[in-house]
């Protein structure tokens, strides 16, 4: 899911004019397909049938079912009882845990996503200099992103232990580290630390974007007497805003769907301090068999994700720079 949206952004953009052209071209021969054309069309439908069947059976069908289930009370053992919007009302007004999970997820996304981008940007900018052993540093920073999430969670249980390496590190600078995973105040920051370990993927993407910036810009800036800081903000940053934007959208969607880390490390505890929307949904559905309520939560999550994505797109006009628009 995470990769998907970014491609859609681009594809939708690319699709626009092409579709318009296609429509015009289609119009002329449309009324009657030749025999050849009919065979070709038949083969088209035959070839896309795997997707079509999957779309109807695993996506469209379940989506419609999900809307209906969200309007019922259903444990899958007894027949569903239609309750209208009760589940939504219950989530929004009657269930403090839902609001807490939403707030926690928001807290997590609001810090982990910008933090990941900032660290990625910072490291990419360092690696973009003429460093000896760049390949080595890049590998070291990228390696953590190859570790499956379950293994990451396992090792972070140890990293975040009261006498673990993170607190040892904090001890070096004279700070007494908290009991990360058991302290309601620190459990969300702990999950954010875990997410920051994956900053390598943003780093590598941003680095490759930085490599594509023409050298002439920097030469000109140097002649004009701009310092490194000024050059970063006036050349590097605007040139890579599309990649930053892409990472922002992907990161937001991923962060709102956080599940495995929470499930393995904290189970939402202590005291729901790390309960997030998807773990809540999972518990409701597969722990308590409240399928109706869980489906309503899924749709509410969808609305939240779409809302934040739309918001990001809206602001993007102000800060994301596409070179082709200038030409």
């Amino acid at each position: 899911m995470a990769t998907d949206l970014g491609a859609v952004l681009g594809a939708a953009r690319a699709q626009g004019p092409r579709r318009a052209r296609g429509r015009r071209a289609d119009r002329l021969p449309r009324p009657k397909l030749s025999r050849r054309g009919r065979t070709e069309a038949r083969f088209f439908w035959l070839f896309v049938s795997p997707w079509l069947v999957g779309f109807l059976g695993f996506l469209l069908g379940p989506m419609i079912a999900s809307v209906y289930i969200s309007l019922t009370e259903w444990d899958s053992f007894t027949p569903p009882v239609f309750v209208g919007l009760d589940n939504y009302v219950q989530a929004l007004t009657g269930d403090p845990v839902f609001w807490q999970a939403l707030w926690n997820t928001f807290y997590y996304a609001a810090i982990s996503v910008p933090l990941g981008l900032a660290v990625g940007l910072w490291l990419a900018n360092l690696l973009n200099k003429r460093v000896r052993g760049r390949k080595f540093f890049r590998t070291m920073i990228y390696l953590p992103t190859l570790v499956p999430l379950v293994a990451t969670a396992m090792v972070f249980k140890m990293v975040l232990a009261p006498s673990g390496p993170l607190n040892d590190l904090l001890g070096l600078v004279g700070v007494e580290g908290p009991n990360w995973l058991l302290d309601p105040l620190w459990v969300k920051p702990a999950l954010i630390v875990l997410s920051a370990w994956g900053a390598g993927s943003a780093t590598v993407l941003l680095l490759s974007a930085m490599n594509g910036i023409p050298r002439e810009f920097y030469e000109a800036a140097e002649i004009d007497g701009a310092g490194p800081f000024r050059q970063f903000w006036s050349i590097t940053f605007p040139q890579i805003t599309p990649i930053i934007f892409f990472n922002l959208i992907m990161g937001l969607i991923g962060a709102f769907q956080i599940f495995s880390q929470v499930y393995i490390l904290t189970q939402g505890g202590p005291d729901n301090a790390s309960m997030m929307v998807v773990p809540l949904l999972f518990d409701q559905a597969f722990g308590f068999y409240h399928f109706g309520y869980a489906s309503a939560v899924a749709w509410l999550l969808f609305v939240v994700i779409i809302g934040f994505t739309a918001l990001a797109f809206r602001t993007s006009r102000r800060w994301v720079f596409y070179e082709t628009e200038v030409r």
């Binding site: 070839f47 779309f55 079912a65 232990a161 490194p228 559905a285």
Partner: protein
Amino acid sequence: MAAATQAPPVAPADPGVAPGRGATARTLKAFKATPVTYAVLLIVSAVFFVPLILMVSIALSSDQTSAQNAFTVIPTEFGWSNFSTVFTATGLPVGRFVLNSVIIATLSAVGQVLSSSLVGYAFARLRAPGKNVMFVVVLATMMIPAQITMIPQFLLFKELGWVNTYLPLIVPSFFSNAFNVFLVRQFVSRIPSEMDEAAQVDGLGYFGIYRRIVLPMMWPILTAIAIFTLTHAWGDFMGPLIYLNSEEMMPLALGLQYMTSTSNAMQLPPWNLVMVGSIMLTLPMIVVYYLGQKYLYEMNVSVGSAGVK
């Protein structure tokens, strides 16, 4: 500007050099690496490396150290035998976990490669009324989060009697997924169509063109798709958690979590063996990534040609 996916593109060798050959080449100010640059990079690399080395250190520590939770970041014990005892000492079928992971990941990859190559080819090459509308639908489906369909899908598979089998984790792969279809379509669109036209003149049918002409040229993107599906299925936790409940069926990712949760409050999980399992979960991913790096780059180009900037 090339596009962005999870795949890290390969960086060109030497940025920051002003144009000019040999002696006239010089480093621009913005690209000068100072000792501070090196210091920061070294510290960051070390910090990023700590969890990895800790994983290895714990995996090599003795049962006693493990029981006391007395781990060190730098390995001091070297109990390589943990790598064999993990299969017997936990009372869990760890070998089976690995086998299950291999089966699920491999069959998912096979399914995705087969189905998305067919569907992507059709979208790239064949003409039919309604095709463009269909493609927009394909793109639109990428926006639907998995949580929406998760519950009805579970109920459907439960109805089919597929719970606690591999089927719910594998079968959907054989119906392709929108992103992979999109990748194949972009890739095939960039292959000149003269060859298929010539083959058509020679009397080859649409399936023959797909099978003999286009499929052999698609393998770079299909390799990328295989790698992505493989890594995704290998690391997937939520799917197996929903569908599998007997130890015999669990893949390694779920089995590891099971290993830590089955021990009661009186005894700690066997952390050294859990970390051996974590290494077994991680190493194949590093190997696959290393071998497949250049194909992942291919994928970037494919997406890039769609206009993702």
